[in-house]
Subunit: 111 residues, 2 copies
Amino acid sequence: MLNYQLDKTFAALADPTRRVIVDRLVQGPASVSELAKPLPMSLPAAMLHLKVLEESGLVTSEKVGRVRTCRIDAKVLSQAEQWVGERRQMWERSLDRLGAYLDQTKPEDQP
Amino acid sequence: MLNYQLDKTFAALADPTRRVIVDRLVQGPASVSELAKPLPMSLPAAMLHLKVLEESGLVTSEKVGRVRTCRIDAKVLSQAEQWVGERRQMWERSLDRLGAYLDQTKPEDQP
DNA sequence: AAAATACTTAAGCAAGTCCTTGACAATTTG
DNA sequence: CAAATTGTCAAGGACTTGCTTAAGTATTTT
């Protein structure tokens, strides 16, 4: 059950520069140069990061005149959150089952 | 505010092979060869994936005799979930504020 | 002790990532 | 129209990733 979407989403989030861009975009939409300004790199480099974010679906953009406006797409963000959350929950349930099993098989150990 | 931990966690989760390993480990601990068996690659390749998971903190392991047993560490999983969740929430709040603003400035547009 | 099991290390290679500089649109603004 | 603004494309270089095979080591098992 391969999920290429998650590959791209997690890979996009693995880079600190791209997380800074996401941090900015969750406050609201922004232009390319507005996003690039605080970053310690050239504009083309910043655009490559934006491209990665767009290809992951985390960010969409639209060009009007000479300005491209970028915004977050929460659906993809939610998918990633859900994948991690499900696994965390499964692991916690495993631990619960183990606890219950130990309580049941060795109740005499409890004071 | 750089966070190397998140770099490593998201990078680890970006690979489908490593997500398969995580999927297995949330069911409970497993040995290296048990984890490698279903994977379409050599054992050394699988071990490299395990190394990435360990360096991210998502997985810990302990060797007893000749068997290394691996298990999930939920703390790191939770951190990743939390990062994504916070951003999703911030973006939703931004949308809410925009909605409230529009309602306030153009109430006459509502039928 | 010999053989099987479980893991580890090393060398090497193809492909991908992240950044640079330089040149080049396309669209306002003066 | 000329100049400034905003974004894009292309070539290339340093580095990392994900795999391979071959050759170990350490620990049971027979």
